[in-house]
Amino acid sequence: MAVHDREPASEPAPVRAAARRHVHTPAWNLLLLIPLVGTLIPSVYNRVGPTLFSIPFFYWYQMAWIAGSVAVTLIVYRMTRGER
């Protein structure tokens, strides 16, 4: 893994300093998997009832997940803002 730690001498000092900064991936990102679970198991929502404005469950359930996905993404965005 020596390749990773190589610091080309040609780079300016601030770049090399920035490269040593500590970075981590926030755990909040795990929330982003929720919309996948919600929409990728069709046996949960593959049915006609209950209908909403005469529209079968299959359709409005999936449309509702658009709002769900926006909410989750917004939460993760807010909570991880400024983190790298």
């Binding site: 990773h4 046996s43 299959f58 449309m63 658009i66 991880t80």
Partner: protein, 553 residues
């Protein structure tokens, strides 16, 4: 030409002229000192903020073909066609995870294309070439399909022949050449506004004319019930059969992963000003998915309204892609139908421009500069890319005029499976350097071969099509005792990943050289303004020496 619809045509032409003017004006918009650098022409200055990115990426991903083909699929097969909704829901959380890393490393090292990243990360020219060629091959038919969208609209207005397509594409080619990525970015404002307007009017107004949602779904149920059940008839219905469920979710997942990997998506993402801009957009872009879901339901409205598809293309078979234009023509007043048709046609121009720019950048950066003229200056790169964008579009036009449109549709089906095979090199590569460059190449080749073979081997006895008749692979053909099917792209990329892992273990055990990685872990986290991050607009002149080569050079 007796039944040309004059009012529709006048409104359509007026809106088309408006975006033509915008396309040329765009070269002065947010102007840099010079467009003669790939960061300017090909990435719009790498400086698009949240609003522009929202319109640009939305205009980029939701193409005219989507607007025409998704309702057509729902019209023909029912619930299966609704996969476009989960597909465009899950794509954003996935992109939220991956794209900021790609943005950071690309802005640290001046990468313009995904193949640039692969070259820098894995230190392999061969792998980068494979990624670049895959991107170009997958994008070309996608551009051609945008013309299918325009063609369907022209047909609904009573216009026949190929000359209007020539005019549309000469205009498109001219302003893309002139303004680069700024043109589709500016036109996307008009496109998206028109699309939102038309779709919202359609889903509010049309159901009231058809007796409400209850009657619409009843008409759809009646149509699907009238066809014999599989295997004698199509697998249709307003909900899925249990055999279809796995195919539905794997198609949604595979399509979402493929969408991010298409070069034109990556172009849109790299043109953003900052990581923060991308993340913010991932929360706002699902607004388009809502529109797409409503559009899909237009397929059922077409059934209830008794629309039947007209013939299209060279084969003179009924083309279900004509149902949305025909529905608009039937339900709307002439002038508003003209607005709706313009929305679809302009909706074709935005992605076609971005796709041709993305393909041209791949050619210039990863083939021309890499192999043909390594000492090309930034100005020569931009010039070559502008020229290549013309060639790409001309190729798409010739394909659509001379060949059966079905050929482009088949190619696009293949394109999704093909582009997915770049996933290990790009996405795994963003997280880890463990995978060996030759193993990634081997996985790509095997995945590509298996994917293409499976697609070739899928027949549809109902239509008499022997090959490339769909993208669902029946697992029973591999000896599994099940009725389930899976999306070919997912199966192929799983094979690809397995080969990559096994080959990496073997190559590492043999001590084969791993190649130089010119990136560092921290490069994947830098934000705009950090030291070492290129700022193309401010430094257009001096960046010529920096962008395009790793800082270690």
């Amino acid at each position: 030409m007796a039944d040309v619809k004059v009012t529709e045509l006048v409104v359509f032409t007026a809106l088309f002229l408006l975006v033509t003017v915008l396309g040329f004006v765009a070269s002065r918009w947010r102007r840099a000192e010079s467009l003669e650098h790939l960061d300017e022409w090909g990435l719009g200055g790498r400086n698009f903020g949240a609003w522009i990115t929202w319109f640009l990426v939305g205009g980029d991903l939701y193409t005219a073909y989507t607007f025409v083909a998704v309702p057509a699929l729902v019209y023909g097969a029912g619930a299966t066609g609704f996969f476009a909704v989960p597909y465009t829901i899950i794509v954003y959380p996935l992109v939220f995870l991956v794209a900021p890393r790609l943005w950071s490393v690309s802005h640290r090292h001046g990468y313009v294309t995904p193949a640039d990243f692969v070259r820098g990360r894995h230190g392999s020219g061969g792998l980068a070439l494979a990624i670049a060629l895959t991107g170009i091959v997958a994008t070309m038919p996608y551009i051609a399909l945008q013309l299918v969208g325009i063609e369907a609209v022209l047909k609904a207005m009573g216009i026949e022949g190929s000359w209007p397509l020539w005019i549309a594409f000469i205009i498109l080619a001219a302003y893309t050449y002139q303004s680069g990525l700024r043109a589709p970015a500016l036109i996307a404002f008009v496109k998206d506004t028109l699309i939102y307007l038309v779709v919202i009017v359609a889903v509010v107004y049309i159901p009231t004319k058809l007796g409400g949602w209850h009657d619409i779904f009843a008409a759809a149920d009646k149509k699907f019930a009238s066809t014999p059940p599989p295997p004698a008839g199509p697998a249709d219905g307003t909900i899925l059969s249990s055999a279809q469920t796995l195919g539905y979710s794997t198609l949604a997942l595979g399509s979402a992963m493929a969408l991010f990997l298409y070069p034109h998506s990556i172009t849109g993402i790299l043109a953003a000003r900052s990581r923060d801009t991308i993340k913010k957009n991932m929360a706002a872009l699902p607004a388009y998915s809502f529109v797409l879901g409503l559009l899909a339901l237009l397929g059922y409205m077409a059934i209830a309204a008794g629309v039947t598809p007209t013939t299209s293309g060279l084969n003179n078979k009924p083309d279900s892609n004509t149902i949305v234009p025909l529905l608009f023509d039937k339900m709307f007043a002439d002038w508003f139908a003209g607005v709706a048709f313009a929305a679809i046609a302009i909706g074709a121009l935005v992605p076609a421009a971005i796709m041709s720019i993305a393909a041209a950048n791949l050619w210039t950066r990863n083939i021309y500069k890499e192999y043909l003229k390594p000492d090309a200056t930034a100005k020569q790169e931009a010039q070559m890319s502008k020229f290549a964008s013309l060639v790409v579009k001309l190729g798409a036009l010739v394909v659509i005029i001379t060949l059966d449109p079905q050929f482009s549709i088949d190619l696009q089906l293949i394109g999704g499976v093909v582009i997915l095979q770049t996933l290990p090199a790009i996405v795994f590569g963003l997280y880890t350097r463990w995978f060996h460059r030759w193993a990634l190449l081997a996985g790509w080749a095997v995945g590509l071969f298996c994917g293409l073979f499976m697609l070739y081997d899928i027949a549809n006895p109902l239509t008499g099509k022997q090959h490339f008749a769909g993208s669902q692979w029946a697992l029973s053909r591999w000896g599994f005792d099940t009725k389930y099917t899976m999306y070919v792209g997912i199966l192929a990329v799983l094979i690809n990943a397995a080969v990559t892992v096994l080959a990496t273990l073997a190559l590492r055990a043999a001590g084969t050289p791993v190649g130089e990685d010119t990136t560092r872990e921290t490069d994947y986290h830098v934000e705009a303004g950090d030291p070492g991050v290129i700022r193309a607009e401010a430094e257009a002149g001096e960046a010529a020496g920096v962008a395009g080569r790793p800082p270690a050079d």
